[in-house]
């Protein structure tokens, strides 16, 4: 179908050999000569004044090289919402008071981890416990303790979205229902824990940090703000990263304190969290209380939606304020919603803070909206797929003042799903059900809370005399496969092989700025920058070839399969290698480079393009135990032009695993601010035996804004799993849920309630 040489082909991961031989180096693996080991002392209180910190005994321990507390830091505050100083609320070490269990109050550097840990035991901290608040609904009450004194009622951020005339539309509705949900948090649980290695050069006053991060640029800015240093004096290098999923966007205390300890000792310092610290002191998905009211016509057409959300923000801001906006946005997708009103509030509480996690904003809201829609469809006697079909967005759909959806294959996705389910699952067993949920997500956000003056993505392509290419960009491959996508896009434009390209990535000193891997942005945004850079080189090559051919200027030239030739007379042309050599030699040796950048313009408030689709889950419910068995999954998605079908399938598989985990087993359990299941023994991830097979069906579209028409494929599919699962249970046994994580006891309770209702109805 496509005339592409590389795009759309199943290309093997460019980091494959390194990753299967153990040669891939992660920050976790790195050491430097003379390196010290850092550890953080953490608060046992959710909310307490720090009266005093005594480090005398710890200082005496042989092997301890430095101990710092809040007063030894430059006091810089930082956060991802850099445009808004009041939301830059993070500090290296708490000074006046602690706001969550696990907040660091002191940092130690020692010659071994053992010594550093023993030193922590010797530090005496006197606290005066303060009343604490853990529930967002309690936090907004007038008499609630304040987490940050300047924020009344603990309101950290608010968001209002409105279009159409909601009140009038509800009056015209034939059917109205309102449902309330409590959606829980979820941990990213990346296999590589947070860790950073910092090396401060006293001679130059410059700092180099190697870290497990999703965005070297965000970390560079965070460190600059925290340490009160110039950005340019900080170099952040991102080696291979062992997973992020939204949990490695924020600058966290490990990198800041490693830098401070390195500056103090003059030696490199590395801080590595253990798994317990990873659970209690790194960000997680935003939990929320949600009320959703929907008004429909008899035929199932959506007339109006009204949504109120209060999120549990925890002690600091992170990307939680963005989650609030995205929640209010994606709860409308992928349906035409002519009248809409949203009010969102993010609260501060005395817990580890919530932030971005794969599909942030969408995962929890899709659960609410899609389970509600099934109940409405049931009441109105409409088939679940048909009600979705009737409301599906069409290409060019616009939500006034908010977003415009250019390419849009949702209708085709629903139709394909209908066909496939009929064919694949013609008959169900007793207590078996099929649940559907649609999904959509952004291909990178049009947000600049970080306040960058640079383009959102930049890339440079350098062609060497032998035709090989060095590609420089800050795009972050954290496992999702963006390195392969980057090489593929460059190779397609220049008509060469992926193997001809050497990647230089994730280093703030040698690559052009890119905002990093979050919000599914690398394929579209970084892809556009790479494409532009490669096209600049291609233009130079074509002009050299045109000179040599001496042909009529109107004739088009093609660069493909390592040749440059006339489109209409392919035999007239030259080898790519000859033209590269001529381009460099004939131009006084001028380097053959191209620079490209991309920032979305005139694309609304959210994203330049949206990936979308529908998922079906087939599950069986055991009425006696409440156990749910996941049996089969079908995903039909539109990610525009797929760049790499191998990688895209990997993304759909992985995000489905995470989405099903949100619905089935993953839950952070908390008791008065203390996370009581901070290990893989007690925090249950989906495992090999839990995972059903997944069939992926692609509905190709072409998005005019994407490189070669591509959109996102990494996050949207994290949203539908929990909702589709809950809908499958609803269709199997009629049980309704107002929360996710369908543990057996919840399922049993819901079955009993349904039975009670049925008896009362008789």
């Amino acid at each position: 179908m496509s005339e592409y040489s590389v795009i759309g082909k199943p290309i093997k991961n460019v980091d494959g050999v390194a990753k299967v031989t153990g040669e891939a180096v992660y920050a976790f693996d790195m050491t430097l000569p003379n390196m010290l080991y850092g550890k953080l002392l953490r608060s046992p209180h959710p909310h307490a004044k720090i009266i005093s910190i005594d480090t005398t005994e710890a200082q005496k321990l042989p092997g301890v090289k430095a101990i710092i507390t809040g007063k030894d830091t430059p006091g810089g505050k930082w956060g991802l919402w850099r445009r808004y100083p009041e939301l830059c609320d993070q500090t290296a070490l708490a000074t006046e008071k602690v706001r969550y269990i696990g907040e660091p109050v002191a940092a130690v550097a020692a010659t071994s981890i053992d010594i550093a840990e023993r030193a922590l035991d010797l530090i005496q901290v006197e606290y005066e416990p303060l009343p604490a608040v853990f529930d967002p609904l309690e936090a907004i009450k007038d008499d609630a303790p304040l987490v940050h004194e300047d924020f009344e009622n603990n309101i950290n951020a608010t968001r209002h979205i409105e279009w159409g005339n909601v009140d009038e539309a509800f009056k015209a509705a034939d059917y109205i229902r309102e449902d309330r949900f409590t959606l829980s948090s979820q941990h990213h649980a990346p296999m590589e824990v947070h860790n950073a290695l910092a090396s401060y050069d006293k001679g130059t006053g410059r700092l180099t940090v190697w870290a497990s991060t999703q965005s070297p640029y965000f970390l560079q800015l965070g460190l600059a703000d925290a340490l009160k240093m110039r950005e340019g004096d900080i170099r952040v290098i991102k080696p291979h990263v062992g997973g992020g999923f939204g949990g490695k966007n924020s600058t966290m205390p490990e990198s800041v304190n490693a830098a401070l300890l390195s500056k103090k000792t003059g030696r490199p310092v590395k801080i590595v969290y253990n798994r317990e610290e990873e659970f209690i002191a790194t960000e997680h998905r935003t939990a929320m209380n949600l009320a959703i009211k929907i008004g429909l016509k008899k035929d199932g057409t959506i007339l109006a939606k009204e949504v109120k959300i209060i999120t549990d923000g925890g002690a600091y801001t992170g990307l939680g304020a963005t989650t609030l906006y995205l929640a209010g946005t994606f709860i409308t997708f992928p349906y035409k919603t002519p009248n809409y009103r949203y009010d969102g509030f993010r609260t501060y509480t005395n817990t580890m803070w919530s932030s971005s996690m794969r599909g942030f904003g969408a995962v929890s809201t899709v659960y609410a909206a899609e389970t509600q829609l099934d109940r409405a469809a049931h009441d109105l006697g409409i088939d679940p797929l048909e009600i979705r079909r009737r409301n599906a967005m069409t290409p060019g759909y616009e939500a006034p003042g908010q977003y415009k959806v250019e390419s849009c294959g949702i209708l085709e996705c629903i139709d394909k799903m209908k066909e496939r389910v009929k064919e694949k699952w013609p008959k169900l067993e007793k207590d078996e059900g099929i649940g559907f949920a649609t999904f959509a997500y952004m291909s990178g956000g049009i947000f600049n809370w970080i306040d960058t003056p640079y383009a959102f993505s930049g890339a440079m392509v350098k062609v060497n005399i032998d035709g090989t290419v060095d590609l420089f960009t800050q795009a972050s491959d954290i496992g999702q496969g963006s390195n392969t996508v980057a090489a593929m896009i460059c190779a397609e434009v220049l008509g060469i092989d992926v193997e001809d390209i050497r990647l230089h990535l994730g280093d703030t000193a040698i690559t052009l700025t890119d905002l990093g891997a979050w919000g599914s942005r690398e394929t579209l945004m970084n892809g556009n920058a790479i494409k532009a850079a490669a096209e600049e080189v291609k233009k130079k090559l074509i002009s050299v070839a045109r000179m040599k051919l001496g042909e009529n200027i109107v004739y088009d030239l093609v660069v493909k399969n390592k040749r440059i030739y006339l489109e209409l007379r392919p035999e007239r042309g030259f080898s790519y290698y000859d033209i590269v050599r001529d381009a460099i030699k004939e131009n006084d040796g001028e380097p053959l480079i191209g620079i490209g950048h991309y920032t979305p313009h005139n694309k609304g408030m959210i994203s330049p393009a949206y990936g979308m689709g529908i998922q079906a889950v087939r599950a069986k419910v055991d009425r006696e135990t409440g156990h749910i068995e996941l049996r089969d999954v079908i995903v039909v998605h539109d990610c525009g032009q797929t760049i790499n079908p191998l990688g895209a399938r990997g993304q759909v598989e992985g995000s489905t695993q995470m989405g099903l985990g949100f619905g089935l087993c993953e839950e952070i359990l908390m008791d008065n601010g203390l996370i009581i299941n901070p290990s893989f023994v007690d925090y249950k991830l989906i495992r090999f035996r839990d995972m059903p097979p997944i069939e992926l069906i692609d509905v190709p579209t072409y998005d005019p804004e994407g490189p070669f028409g591509a959109k996102e494929a990494a996050e949207a599919t994290a949203s539908p799993g929990a909702a589709a699962l809950a809908n499958a249970v609803y269709h199997a046994v009629g049980a309704e849920f107002d929360t996710n994580v369908l543990r057996p006891e919840k399922v049993l309770k819901a079955i009993r309630e349904k039975e009670k209702k049925d008896r009362a109805g008789k």
Binding site: N13, G22, D29, E192, G242, Q480, F680
Partner: protein
């Protein structure tokens, strides 16, 4: 007090002195520099640190280094035959069976132990054998498929060798 540890790693003999409390994963990573073996959970619950000890898959975070005295250890670094990848490694690449790659070394070693014992496993047998191995990036299915693919390649290799 340090004690002597004599063992073989990836075919090479080592003679070291280690503190008794030292874990095998610490010796492999910190003493021998074999950082392909990862460490991810501190509770023996994720299997990222899996290596082979005398042909069996073992979590190197849950065994003392001195317990492998006199034994033969194989890590991911010993899987390829020089520049030639092991069929499991090639199958993992061809099937996109990893993403971030942090759990991959452990997965490969467990898969090797499985195929050594059961050269033709069903998908269900693979799932049971691999069940403790946590992977946050993939949905496991592509790993199972890669292991089955590798089993076929190994069988074909054996047939070819047998035919010679």
């Amino acid at each position: 007090m340090k004690k002597e540890l004599k063992f073989k790693v990836n075919g090479e003999d080592y003679d070291l002195w280690v503190e008794p409390k030292t874990l095998l994963v610490q010796v492999l990573r910190d003493e021998l520099g074999l950082k392909g073996t990862k460490w991810a959970c501190d509770s023996g619950a994720c299997c990222a640190c899996t290596v082979m000890v005398d042909g069996r898959a073992v979590k190197s975070c849950s065994i003392l280094a001195l317990q492998v005295n006199g034994k033969e250890v194989m890590t991911v670094e010993g899987l390829a035959n020089g520049p030639e990848l092991h069929p499991l490694q090639q199958a993992f690449i061809d099937n996109w069976a990893f993403q971030c790659g942090f759990c991959t070394s452990g997965q490969l070693m467990a898969a090797k132990a499985l195929l050594d014992e059961n050269p033709d496993p069903t998908i269900d047998e693979i799932k049971i054998a691999m069940d403790g191995h946590l992977c946050r990036c993939t949905g496991y299915n592509m790993i199972s498929e890669a292991i089955q693919d590798a089993a076929k390649r190994l069988q074909a290799q054996k047939q070819q060798e047998g035919g010679k």
